[in-house]
Symmetry: C2
Subunit: 580 residues, 2 copies
């Protein structure tokens, strides 16, 4: 398990030594920031599933286990608001569990126990003095992806060259979380560049999937995914430009929401390709329940984030939208089901998860039609051309300062699988060799993008002819990836998620089932559409996925955050009520 990139390396040349030394020093500082009494005896390296380590290691009291096992964030907040559980004890409990998680899946970056507990104590004092909570997230510890700057802390975001740069202010999200009464308490790991569906960088190393440490937790918000799956945080915040809150949620058995561009405030947070406004990264919550997702979105919107972030639309939490008034009040919905996008046929477990969901929804009184993918390849090519329109210039500049190499794979052996067929639309490389586009060329891509978005919108609206509800489909259900969490270095395809970034649709992910090698037998071979499609088919090995969770996406239209949360709740209730 390649947790630490530093120790496992060969002796290196002088410049290489330099960046490695900087990274190693940071990693050591991180280790030093863990209270000694919270260090555990690590489980054997070959232990695959580590979800039970927190309960087994003996570090958590039974009350701390009770607190951290509460996945209903609204219930947790009620206990914090009433004082039944103090913020100090809740924060301590989650902090201990987060640090345990970190020792088995390497999910954290910044650890600042004293600061978080001091904040929690202030909140407890406030409650005692005033007899009421300070805000809607009173006392709740919240984990943050390593992009959300906090005054006095570094924001390394996986770049060696960012080590030692201490933020002078909080980003707007953190400001609002403080106003809401939350306790930002850890920051979590990311892949170098953020442009991978895995989580590995040259500073903090690789994050592992707690369901199976041979597998990736996904990325780029993979630190959050692994941490929350370990119940080391009740609520976390990631970001998503191509699936980065959804892939970890699907691979780690948790919930997430990818909101529309700018609905939640990004101002002041660090990012890759800052200034790329064509297909914006968005902030999204991740949690062990939809309750956590809803609580977060409502709390932030109630703070009027547009008064602090000039890009956030002036759209308050819309309760009628959450009540699904535009979707038949949630009764008799019609879902569009897309198991296969026509480019990359998913592996068998995804078919079973989709079928289970379909049956559950029909049993709950909803209807289902097939969702026909439209121009997904064209959208993919346009979108990917935009992401790398600067030919990776912004990435190379981060590397240049320290000679840190730009990773070209997430594979533990840094083996670059060559995929050179010209018909193959997807590569594993971060930087594609498209050349550095001029502004005019970028504007031409924008024209094409707008046209593709228009066609897709018309396509969606056109389903009104087929739903029988008098409305277009209320949501689309589809895989979040064409496979369950793959082996490290093997998550090469993010197109089931990125399509919705390109179209700016609102998407929730929810857990559906687990891989079952007995049920999920290989499909007969189909006519392969491209090398990637063939690779996905051929690499299916159910035994490697044992116990691996599967989540699906619930896709609503643009700026339908409230409705998508409500529809995801409906899907979840249907699944829970379903005999399968």
């Amino acid at each position: 398990m390649d947790v630490d990139p530093v120790s496992s390396q060969e002796p290196a040349a002088e410049t290489e030594e330099k960046w490695r030394a900087i990274a190693a020093e940071k990693k050591q500082k991180q280790l030093d920031s863990i209270p000694k009494e919270w260090l555990i005896t690590p489980p054997p390296e070959d232990r695959i599933n580590v979800l039970d380590v927190p309960s087994e290691c003996g570090l958590l009291t039974s009350r701390e286990m009770e607190i951290t096992n509460e996945v209903d964030v609204a219930a947790l907040l009620a206990k914090l608001a009433s004082g039944e559980w103090s913020s100090v004890e809740v924060t301590t409990a989650f902090y201990k569990r987060a640090v345990i998680a970190h020792q088995v899946v390497n999910c954290l970056t910044e650890i600042f126990v004293e600061r978080a507990l001091a904040r929690a104590a202030e909140l407890d004092e406030y409650l005692k003095t005033n007899g009421k909570p300070i805000g809607p997230l009173h006392g709740l510890p919240i984990s943050l992806k390593d992009q959300f700057t906090m005054k006095g802390l570094e924001t390394v975001m996986g770049w060696v060259s960012w080590i030692g740069k201490v933020s002078e202010s909080d980003c707007v999200l953190v400001e609002l979380l403080y106003q809401c009464g939350a306790v930002p308490f850890v920051r979590t790991n990311v892949p170098q560049t953020l442009f991978w569906g895995e989580t590995h960088n040259s500073v903090f190393g690789r994050t592992l999937n707690p369901h199976n440490r041979n597998l990736t937790p996904g990325g780029s918000s993979g630190g959050e995914g692994a941490l929350i799956a370990m119940r080391g945080s009740p609520l976390g915040v990631g970001t998503d430009i191509g699936g980065s809150v959804r892939i970890p949620a699907a691979f780690c058995n948790i919930y997430s929401l990818r909101p529309s561009y700018e609905r939640l405030p990004y101002q002041g947070a660090r990012n890759t390709g800052e200034g790329q406004e064509s297909i914006s990264s968005t902030i999204g919550p991740m949690s062990n329940s939809l309750s956590g997702i809803k609580v977060f979105v409502k709390a932030i919107l109630d703070m009027k984030p547009w008064l602090k972030d000039p890009l956030v639309p002036k759209m308050p939490w819309n309760e009628p939208a959450y009540q699904l008034v535009e979707h038949g009040n949630g009764v008799g919905l019609c879902f569009g089901f897309m198991v296969d996008d026509g480019l990359f046929k998913p592996q068998p477990p995804l078919y079973r998860a989709m079928e289970m969901t379909k049956k559950a929804l029909i049993a709950a009184g909803h209807t289902v039609i097939e969702w026909e993918p439209k121009k997904h390849l064209e959208i993919f090519i346009n979108c990917n051309s935009i992401y790398f329109a600067d030919d990776g210039e912004n990435l190379r500049r981060e590397c240049e300062a320290t000679d840190e190499p730009l990773l070209q794979t997430m594979h533990p052996e840094e083996l670059l699988v060559e995929l050179d067929d010209a018909s193959m639309p997807y590569e594993r490389h971060v930087v594609r060799d498209l050349g550095h586009l001029t502004t005019y060329e970028l504007w031409e891509l924008h024209k094409e993008k707008r046209q593709l978005r228009k066609e897709y919108l018309d396509h969606w609206m056109g389903t009104v002819e087929r739903t029988g509800t008098g409305r277009p489909v209320d949501a689309i259900i589809c895989p979040a990836a064409p496979y369950p969490a793959p082996l490290h270095g093997h998550n090469r395809n993010a197109w089931y998620t990125t399509i919705w970034n390109a179209l700016d649709y609102t998407v929730a992910v929810l857990p559906v089932t687990y891989v079952d090698p007995k049920l999920d037998v290989q499909h007969p071979p189909h006519k392969f559409r491209n090398h990637e499609d063939q690779w996905i088919y051929e690499s299916y090995d159910p035994s490697s996925y044992e116990g691996c969770p599967i989540g699906l996406q619930v896709v609503g239209q643009r700026q339908e955050e409230e409705a998508v949360i409500a529809i995801a709740e409906i899907v979840e209730r249907a699944l829970k009520a379903s005999p399968s």
Copy 2:
């Protein structure tokens, strides 16, 4: 009066002849599209003010005069809805007046009388059959800037190379106008490139200001400005990327609204620099009353434009926002007044208009504080660098097809005034010699832009300390230009309007007063900040402006369309109630 660019030219070389011939043919077709019986004996060329030509020429009946003199669009719609006035007679009346206007100020592009009257007749038939109007704009003739494509018509937009290209579909705005029951009836003139605050191109020639034909009506929606000022249209639609609906409104004595990016649907309309998404052009209504502005915005938003245009935010008409619930219900507002942006000191009439407005607002129970401009020069440089980040590539390509020259001035004699002082931030050239930026360079500009927008937002929010209302300032009042409508070729400064495009604030323009050479005496000279500032000072000649209107801007925050309309109504009521 250089109305026709073709006839007044010297004999030209062969390639030049070609594009001139194409343009001349189109211009002749336009002339042929006017019903012969609507041709008038033109007034003498030296007649400056032509506003009374419609009433004097004898072409309009008294009922047609009554119809076209009704500036309250809601009242007009009520008469159309009741059948008191038929759509055919209203459309005929405005069409005749529009054609009269065209003959004296050259404001139209596409003229299609039969088609519009057939549409009006259908609506009359609908009302007769169903006893109710078909939609909120039932029977209303609406003029459109020459960007809004209509099936079966050309959209020339001032480019010779676009002549003969017939649209295969309506743009989304036109689709929605049809659904609302409107009668799109003429299209209106623009400057080549749309990037001028005047209105002149090589196909349709120059549009004149009906208040004083020696002056420009402004631009780029100058055809609309001149037409509506002549009461040749009750309601028009322009677009605005740097002041293009506000400059014509201020120069022509009418009302307009510049909404936030994408609030109204642009999908399918043609544009300059299509694909430039950094600082978006927006669609805005223009009318002889705020009633027209409100009716249009509400009608379009009630049609849920986000179901047809993927970029339009899902924000319905917000009645509580229009009732100013976030602005003290409209009682005791506090305005920020900025007469001088610190870069370009306005000419004397602007000071008087601002002073009149201030007194009127105070008399009406509102308060006023000074608005301090913040980083206007930095924002200007960032914004202008973005507009021309492709070094005019998109403009040159439109010219190349026919060898039509890219105009470098709007001056009738094509005299380029050299402004070569390096300290001078503004030039008259459309294309600045910044070079063609790479994507990375553009993204760097976006980062800077976001930071500047954040600083300005914080600046606005910070006024809460000074207003005495418990709120930040409710709106800013400022000039729409540092001078009244200037002589043709002299409108070189759009920075009083463009600042708000860069910040994406919502802005209404309303008429305030007229230049009065007795009252508006020259200021003593100040320390000039740059050549432009000096030029503005030195070029002040009150006698050239006689009878020239002055409008001001009412600036609200982003996505405050409803509130800004309501606040503009308050300003207007205060001005009407004020003794001055």
